[in-house]
């Protein structure tokens, strides 16, 4: 359909050709990112339909009945076909709780992914992956100073470890009739370095993955394969969010958006500033879309005056007469309006198309919604739940730890001052922890956030930093001294 509709085609090409993934679905959940990224890192998929049959419990519509399970899998039941359906039913119910922990297993196998515990649960592509796995894998696969990211090897090794309790529960199913026929080893599809589009934000993400992988080894977290997988997916979610928010800055020299982390202290000024910071982040994504559309249009419209732009609108192809009638009229009207506001014709056209995309193509699943949904699910945005409709960067302690481990170098693990960590967080991700109140206030002022924040934002930034320091301390990542110095590191 996209081929016959200019607007849809444009929507598609921005995501696929420019961005590299599709931030246009609310259905994305961390296990979808996991399935995509892990599959790319291992080049492996497994046959999991039998696992799916078991773990979709009978309370779900379309589930296979326990009697059928007994019949079909009697060879892996001690009591064979004499097993009681009620026993199987109760166990399947708990199995579903285990492997559908993240609510990504549906009665329809095609759309389902599991809470992956080892390579045996890797599936072929599902639509909700949104190409995120490939996008991230390319960042990891690029040879920087001649080497690919150590994160790839770490993920491979964690997935190969299949002695964990979760995988163990599935072993009889995996091994029936033989485990060999369940695996498909396609080989890893490494892209050539030249084919990978590179920018400052991707470099920051890559360095983050590299640091995280190294620090996981230093702190011996790598001995816990499930924790490694959780950590990597947690950072992957953050990385995608960051790229979306930061690419306008990285690629088009737009404003860099400050990410003000709220430690959950209920300080009104921090709450408001963090909310505005999140709103600015969503606006930055819109700006990126507009700039990308403009870049695409400049290839098509050689003399971008108003008449040429109107001709371009006139030449748009529509998939239906109805769309042509409503959407085209809206684009023309936006264009006229932005032009009369003094916008350059090409900018006005790009702006109009961006609004049209958000209004007609991404009605309930715009990139802004994607940011919110992904952010909440990877522990960066809160409060969770639909009732809290104003979100902010209310960070979860696990995510805070992950991001911090992605910032610290191996040397830093010996101990750096919290203030120094704050400076690094700003430099690398433009994350504000509140450790450098004056500098961070200035950043928030430049982003037009500080001016409209109630209360003593400057003072509250310091209190927020103290609360974050307390979280670090309880995680064993920091030590506080009486003179107010907090050292961040490992085994301090």
């Amino acid at each position: 359909m996209a081929k016959h509709d200019t607007l849809k085609q444009l929507a598609d090409s921005i995501c696929r050709e420019y961005l590299g993934f599709l931030p246009t679905s609310n259905s994305v959940k961390p296990p979808h990112i996991a399935n995509g990224l892990f599959r790319e890192c291992t080049g492996e998929t497994c046959y999991t339909q039998d696992i799916h049959e078991w773990i979709v419990s009978e309370r779900r519509n379309g589930a296979v009945s326990s009697s059928e399970i007994i019949e079909k899998y009697q060879d892996i039941l001690w009591h064979g076909n004499k097993e009681k359906p009620e026993n199987v039913k109760q166990v399947r119910y708990l199995m579903e709780e285990i492997f559908n922990q993240d609510n990504t297993v549906y009665p329809n196998y095609e759309f389902s992914v599991f809470s992956i515990s080892s390579h045996w649960l890797l599936k072929t592509r599902v639509s909700s992956e949104l190409n995120i796995g490939r996008f991230l894998f390319e960042i990891l696969a690029k040879r920087v100073n001649g080497i690919r990211s150590p994160a790839i090897e770490l993920i491979q090794s964690a997935l190969n470890h299949d002695d964990d309790d979760l995988t163990k529960i599935l072993k009889p199913i995996i091994a029936y009739p033989t485990d060999r026929e369940k695996r498909t080893l396609n080989g890893i599809d490494f892209p050539s370095d030249e084919s990978i589009k590179w920018d400052a934000c991707k470099e920051a993400i890559r360095n983050g993955f590299d640091n995280l992988a190294r620090n996981i080894r230093v702190t011996k977290e790598n001995e816990n394969s499930l924790l490694v997988l959780e950590r990597m997916v947690n950072f992957a979610g953050f990385a995608v969010f960051l790229y979306l928010v930061d690419c306008h800055f990285a690629l088009f020299k737009g404003n860099r958006i400050p990410i003000l982390l709220d430690a959950g202290t209920e300080l009104e000024s921090i709450k408001k500033a963090s909310e505005q910071s999140f709103t600015s982040a969503k606006k930055a994504v819109e700006d990126y879309f507009m700039c990308t559309i403009q870049a695409a249009l400049s290839l098509e419209i050689s003399s971008p005056n108003k008449a040429a732009c109107l001709r371009w609108i006139e030449g748009m192809v529509w998939s239906s007469a109805e769309r042509e009638l409503s959407v085209k009229a809206a684009i023309t009207s936006y264009f006229e309006s932005f032009s009369s506001d003094g916008e350059d014709p090409l900018v006005a056209l790009a702006h109009s198309l961006q609004i049209a995309l958000y209004t007609f193509e991404y009605k309930n699943n715009s990139p802004s919604d994607f940011c919110r949904v992904l952010g909440v699910r990877c522990g960066l945005i809160g409060p969770k739940g639909n009732r809290a409709n104003v979100k902010r960067f209310l960070i979860n302690s696990f995510t805070l730890e992950t991001i911090t481990l992605s910032i610290l170098s191996e040397d830093d693990l010996d101990g750096i001052e919290m203030k120094e960590l704050g400076e690094k967080a700003i430099h690398i991700y433009n994350i504000l922890l509140g450790t450098n109140a004056d500098a961070e206030y200035k950043i928030l002022e430049n982003a037009n956030i500080a001016q409209s924040t109630p209360g003593d934002l400057r003072g509250d930034l310091t209190i927020n930093a103290q609360a974050l320091a307390n979280t670090y301390i309880s995680l064993g990542l920091a030590r506080k001294y009486a003179d107010g110095v907090t050292l961040i590191g490992w085994r301090l």
Binding site: K29, I76, Q90, Q101, D102, S117, C378, L475, A482, D483
Partner: protein, 515 residues
Amino acid sequence: MSNLNFIRKLYNGKNCYSDHMTNEELQVLHVHSKVEDIILEMQKQNKIVFLTGNPGDGKTFLIRTIEPQLTGLDVYIETDLNKITDYQEVAEKIITCYKGGKPAIIAVNEYPFIRLCKQIRKMSSALYEEITTVKQNAIIYDMPHDGIRKVAVIDLNERNLLDKDHNLSEEIITRICALLDEDDNKSKQLTYNIKAMCAPEIRGQLVSLLDLASISCEHFAVRDIFGAISFILTACETEDFLGIPYYDAIFVGNNALLQMIQQFDPIYLSKPSVDEALWNGEIKTNWMLGVPEKWPNSPEFDDKVEEATELFKSIKRRYYFENSDGEALRSLQPTEIQKCVEMFVDLEHKKKAIKERLVRSINKLFLPSSDDKKQLRIWTTHRYDLSIDASTAISSRYVDTSDLDIQMPRPADWLNGIEYMPQHLILKPKRKESPTLIMDIDFLRTLDAIEDGYPVNLLAPQYAQTVAVFLQQLYEAGLAEENDDGEILIASRKRSYKRSIFIEDGKYSFEEADE
């Protein structure tokens, strides 16, 4: 300077810093600590001593106190590394001492110490390794460790001057009172405060509050202790708190120790009959320093509820300290911390029971209905979506509780006698050094709350995270045993319900379903 002025400035003033004190003043405040003997002995043995800790811990003070005794030993002394900008120069001097077998003593705050160590690592890996090893093994458990060779690191953070066994808080109160008493022209309130502190029962109540603060997992520097006692006695002489009695001053000060004590304010200890009698002015007996003159129910407060309430708070505090029945209120102080501390006290003779109780609490973190204390289950949870709580835990392995050991830290042998109070317990495999689960007072309180049936999901999640990592480490270290008959426990944490699956020879069998 009068003694009053000198003492008053100990609270948040420049007298907190030994650099500003004369030798005479140093001696006045000098409280003998075992650390001095340890340092002197080491200097005689030509060792390099790094004296680390927080600002205010008394590092410079200590060195200045023992300096006369170091004469003739040719010791390289650095009383305050914070003033040094060139770490390389200091590192060179230390390395020279290290190679030449000369003694040295360096006072350094924690962060500059880390920077100094980084510099030393670049210049002498042998010295760096020795510093790191000694630092890590200064506080030990039951495993034997090598003693020190050429280097000692004494961390004054580990020294607890409020340690009950050493009775230092009482000594400091007595000494400050004596100093203040020497002054002429004392105000009426200050005279009253000194008199009160001279009464053993009243002083005992204050010391018991300091004890409660000392067991709460916080570290208090010497400066905090002197500052707190100075403020309690002399706040009445300051502009902001003019005339305030000691029993109110204790709960308005803002230094770290006083802030900690504020949570034990007697106004939070409720005994309705006592409260009513205090409000109505009915308690007229057993006052050690005289009956209060005003009571909250006095007609003058008829339209001044707030003032009456403030007076009530003050009288209740006074009752706590100065009425011989006030001691009974002490039993109402929060017991959670005390209960945890009892674990430390009782550890040696109730080790098995304490260990089993902790194991049961840890199991309850994953399955609230669990009553298993004989086996520490290796529980696994796994989720990617952080907006959802992990609802299920699984366990196919366990470690027998009898294979685990619970231990309390103690100073290494070469630090023997240092004022030390353990603030955490560790759970670890018997006869092995790792993995260890470090449980501080807060963690132990969390486990205690779980034991008492507190909902797990309302507690700080990081403890479950820490426990999960420890359990996996036990498994990775090959210390866990498989359940019998290939049993795998599946625990639904939301419903506090479990079922078993048995896997043997690649086949399932199931626990009989509930009818």
